[in-house]
């Protein structure tokens, strides 16, 4: 290539060497341009908003942040969030494991259908999820008479919010565990059984340790998603201040009432909480490798 160029009489030597230099460094330059493009995009899209939130909360100083959070209804809201999330995580840890296990180990009619259905909550808007439950349990709801006869309240109460969050977070645990179970060698289990271990012993000593990391990751994802759930709990819980208000619902109300510092601070705390959760489990996972 350089041969044909240097033979062209119209170009000076300097021009030729410049073109060669450009040619040689072209790949490097494209690389740097692409890298900077991506970094600028990510910084603009993701980092700027996060920094803005931090700056917004601390706009009037640290004391103001503490004051705005140090209120009974804020405490109650965070407590509600934590309570719902913990219940949801516990239920999913047990039933998610069960579902994943049945799904991987057994062949049954309708297996493919169930496989598709597990992902359905990803396709259902949180608002719609909450609304579905309202149709079931709300006033004039289909199951309302049964629930009433049992003396329970589901809509506009904590059980409904737990149900809504269960629905929205359903896929995480199962999707995390299925690949682990599929990769797991059943010969270990059979060996344990041959050696006289009971079914429970086999599960606890052989299967569970293999599942542990998938479970931890599934729990984190479920937990983080449950903490941040908004649409579904808003519709089914109604966001009654001092009763069914969760942290996200508080943020929404505070914004509406123009208590900006309160809203920003609560958002910051909630964001940090789920961030630490996810980053923490990511770090644990990396440490293991």
């Amino acid at each position: 290539m350089s041969l044909t160029r240097s033979s062209s009489t119209s170009m000076s030597k300097a021009q030729v060497s410049l073109m060669e230099w450009v040619d040689r460094n072209k790949a490097k330059w494209t690389g740097w341009i692409l890298i900077s493009l991506v970094i600028i995009y990510v910084a603009f899209l993701i980092l700027t908003p996060i920094m803005a939130l931090t700056a917004g909360a601390f706009e009037k100083g640290f004391g103001e942040v503490i004051d705005s959070l140090n209120q009974p209804d804020v405490f109650l809201a965070f407590w509600n969030t934590l309570w719902v999330s913990l219940v949801v995580v516990t239920i999913h840890t047990i039933f998610g494991t069960l579902v994943a296990w049945v799904f991987v180990r057994h062949r049954f009619p309708g297996r493919n259908l169930i496989n598709g259905l597990v992902d359905m909550p990803f396709a259902v808007s949180p608002v719609v999820a909450g609304y579905m439950l309202l149709l079931l349990f709300g006033r004039n709801g289909i199951l309302a008479p049964i629930v009433e006869a049992l003396g329970m309240q589901i809509a506009f109460a904590m059980p409904g919010m737990v149900l809504a969050t269960l629905f929205v977070t359903l896929p995480f645990m199962i999707r995390e565990l299925i690949p682990v179970l599929e990769a797991f060698d059943t010969r270990q289990e059979r060996a344990a059984a041959t050696l006289g271990a009971s079914g429970w012993q086999t599960f606890w000593r052989v299967t569970f340790p293999a599942l542990r990391w998938g479970m931890i990751y599934g729990i984190t994802l479920t937990f983080a998603r449950a903490l941040g759930e908004f649409g579904a709990v808003l519709v089914i819980g109604g966001g009654v201040q001092g009763r069914t208000e969760t942290a996200t619902l508080f943020i929404y109300r505070a914004l509406d009432e123009r208590q900006y510092i309160g809203a920003y601070s609560a958002a910051l705390v909630l964001g940090l909480f789920s961030l630490i959760l996810v980053l923490g489990s990511d770090w644990l996972r990396r440490k293991r490798h």
Binding site: V118, I142, L170, G228, G231, V278
Partner: protein
């Protein structure tokens, strides 16, 4: 049980008054506009996501540069941040009382809040990881020898990218795009804050459903819900099918 019963209930409720009524509810001006807004903002978001997501995955796999690990970690941040919090972040940045927002408004008469740009921005934030994480593993496994061969034969960088790198990535890109789109259709938390609830202007389908639930218009809420779920579920199924197909073709190659 947890999944099927609610779904059946909503379908039954939406079609309770017959197909004609269902159709009338969906095509009510406000509902129709909300659905259209949701679809077109999601489409714009998906297109941007395809380009930037692929580029990000490419840069992460192919280049070494300081801060690469950090960048790789940042990509997952949107999954860890509650969507409502995302909305709050954008309000602080672009809200009408805030510095950047008022400057944009005064200078360019460009409003992000309570308008489609805000919706698109929120959706971009939320769905950024999808395309990147779908493309990245495929790109990692790509055989460099083919590219070297092409370069030796005199192909330029762009030709190599288009002819050799792009074809195996098409499927994962489409899968990632479908996932982003399906996710965007139902988004509520960030949008209700960023876009508010202004019919015919910034009201998306999810926000419309919320409004109808609040005002106890069950037919309208159910009808629009059915449309949203049907679209998102179809896209998800296609994405699932594509993923399975790419897995089986991989098997054939080995």
């Amino acid at each position: 049980m947890l999944l099927i019963i609610p779904l059946l209930v909503i379908v039954q409720d939406g079609l309770r008054a017959g197909l004609a009524e269902f159709w009338r509810q969906v095509t009510l001006p406000a509902a129709w506009h909300a659905l259209q807004l949701t679809l077109w903002t999601s489409t714009v978001m998906t297109v941007i996501n395809i380009i930037m997501g692929t580029l990000t995955a490419f840069v992460l796999v192919r280049y070494e540069f300081p801060g690469k690990t950090i960048l790789n970690g940042i990509i997952d941040l949107p999954l860890a941040i509650p969507t409502l919090v995302t909305g709050v972040m954008l309000v602080i940045l672009f809200g009408p009382q805030e510095a950047l927002g008022s400057w944009l408004k005064a200078r360019f008469d460009f409003s992000v809040m309570f308008a489609p740009p805000g919706i698109i921005l929120a959706l971009l934030f939320l769905t950024f990881p999808f395309v990147v994480r779908s493309v990245q593993p495929v790109l990692m496994e790509l055989d460099l020898a083919q590219e070297h061969a092409a370069a030796t034969l005199g192909a330029g960088g762009w030709t190599i990218f288009r002819r050799i790198i792009l074809p195996p990535m098409t499927l994962p890109i489409i899968t990632g795009a479908l996932l982003s789109f399906a996710r965007a259709i139902g988004e509520f938390g960030s949008i209700v804050i960023v876009a508010g609830n202004i019919p015919f202007r910034s009201q998306t389908a999810a926000v419309y459903v919320f409004g109808e639930v609040e005002s106890e218009n069950r037919l309208g809420a159910s009808a629009v819900s059915i449309v949203m779920v049907a679209i998102a579920f179809t896209l998800l199924m296609i994405a699932d099918y594509l993923r399975k197909r790419s897995k089986s073709t991989e098997g054939e190659n080995i």
